[in-house]
Symmetry: C2
C-alpha cells in the first residue's frame, strides 16, 4: 500500500510477478501478514489468485530484502520481529540518514529547499488519522511523510545509499504498524518535522542531524514500550 507511493507515474507493472511482489510486500509491511507466519504456497496461490512461478519469484525477491526468510526445502516465512532488530535498524538508520542528510545539506540548492518546504506544508495539513477519535491509518499522510523524509536525504548524491535508507524505512515501518494504534495521540510528531525543517533551512547541519536522530529514536522508544508491554512474543528473535 505504501510501497512505491513515491513513483507516481510508474509504468505498467507488466508482469504478474512484480504485481504480486508489490502486493505481498505491502501486506507484510502493514502486518496483514503477521511476522513469523508461514507463507504456504497453496495459501498464497489461492489468496493472491496466481500461479506458483510468479509467487515464487516474488518471494525470492523479498528474501533478498530480508522481509521474507526462505528456509531451504521447507518453505518461506514472514521475517519475525524482535526488539533486537528494532534496535539495530534504528541505530543504523540514525547513522546513515544523518550521514545522508549532511551530504544533502552540503549540496543544498534553492530548488531543494523549496521542495522541502512544500513537502512539509502538504504533510502538515494532512490529518494523521482518518478518524479523530481512534486511529485509522491515512494512506495520504503516510505517503507525504515518506516523501518528506525521502527528500531530506534525496540530495546526498548516492543512489545506493538512498536505496539502503528506503530499505531500512520499509523494515521499520512494520514495527510502527504494530504499535501505531496505541501510540496515536501521545506524540506531536508534527512539531518534530517542523523543527527539522527549520534547522535545514537555517543551514544548521549539526542541529538538523541531532533532531533527525532524536526523531527516529523517539519513535523506537514508543514502539519498544508498546511492544514490550503488550505481548512478549516480540522478543522471540528466531
Amino acid at each position: 500500500m505504501n510501497v512505491n507511493l513515491l513513483k507516481k507515474g510508474a509504468e505498467s507493472p507488466a508482469t504478474l510477478a512484480t504485481s504480486i511482489y508489490e502486493r505481498l510486500k505491502a501486506d507484510i509491511l502493514s502486518t496483514r501478514l503477521e511476522p513469523g507466519r508461514k507463507l504456504q504456497l497453496r495459501f498464497l496461490i489461492e489468496h493472491y489468485d496466481a500461479g506458483q512461478t510468479p509467487l515464487r519469484e516474488a518471494l525470492n525477491r523479498l528474501t533478498t530484502e530480508d522481509l521474507v526468510i526462505g528456509k531451504e526445502q521447507r518453505g518461506f516465512f514472514v521475517k519475525p520481529i524482535s526488539l533486537d532488530e528494532l534496535h539495530e535498524l534504528t541505530k543504523t538508520r540514525c547513522w546513515v540518514e544523518t550521514l545522508a542528510l549532511r551530504e544533502s545539506m552540503a549540496n543544498a540548492t534553492p530548488d531543494w529547499e523549496e521542495a522541502l518546504l512544500v513537502a512539509h506544508h502538504r504533510l502538515e495539513r494532512t490529518p494523521r488519522s482518518l478518524n479523530a477519535e481512534r486511529f485509522e491509518d491515512n494512506p495520504e499522510w503516510e505517503m507525504l511523510h515518506r516523501a518528506f523524509h525521502a527528500l531530506l536525504i534525496g540530495g546526498c548524491g548516492s543512489k545506493p545509499l538512498i536505496g539502503f535508507c528506503e530499505q531500512l524505512a520499509d523494515r521499520l515501518y512494520r514495527y510502527r504498524a504494530l504499535s501505531i494504534r496505541k501510540a496515536f495521540r501521545v506524540r506531536k510528531v508534527g512539531d518534530e518535522h517542523a523543527a527539522i525543517l527549520k534547522a535545514v533551512l537555517d543551514r544548521d547541519t549539526a542541529e538538523a542531524e541531532r533532531l533527525l536522530q532524536l526523531h527516529y529514536e523517539k519513535t523506537a522508544d514508543i514502539i519498544r514500550a508498546d511492544l514490550g508491554a503488550t505481548n512478549n512474543d516480540a522478543a522471540a528473535t528466531r
Copy 2:
C-alpha cells in the same frame, strides 16, 4: 568463486535455486558474464544445466541486489558498468565503511584486535598473483583480503550495515576484475593494509578512517584510468 568465501562451513545449499544463484553471482562478479550482456533463458538453461524455475528465481534475487537488470517482458541483463556508478559506489563505500570502522573501533576488544592482526598476517604472506610474471588471480588472496576488510567493520554492531557494505564490495569487485590484469604491480597494496592495521591498533580512529578512505579512492583511481584508457564503452550508463 569469491562469493561466500567467508562462510566456510556453510550448510548444504540444498536447493538448486541457491546453488545456481551462487554460481551466477560469481560469474557476474568475475565478469565471465560481461556487463550489459543479455541473459537468455535458453542459454542459461543449457549452460547451467537447470530448469527455468530455479534460474528465474536466481535472476530475481540478483535483480534485487542490482547485479542483474530485469526488463519486464523482455528479459534479464547483466548490470552494465559505468564510470558514474564506479564513482557513486566508491563514494558510498568510503562514507559507510569509515562510519562502520569508527563504530568498530569504539567497540574494540582485545579479541577483535588480535583477530585483525592474524587476518593481516595471513594476507601479507599470501601472494597476490599465482604467477610472478603476469597476473593470475589467486583465490586464496582474494578470500583473505575480503576477510581482513570484513573484520575491520565487523565490530560495528549492525548486521544491516555490514550487509550493505558487502553488497558494495561485491558491486565494486566487478570493476576491479575488469582492470586488475593491468593494474597489477603498479601498487603496493600491502603497505596500505599495514598502515591501516597500525592505525587501528594505535587506536587512532581519525587516521584509520583517513587511510581506509584513501585505500578505496586509490583503487577507484586506478580502475578509472585503466577503464577510461582502454575502452570507452564503459561510459555507457544504461
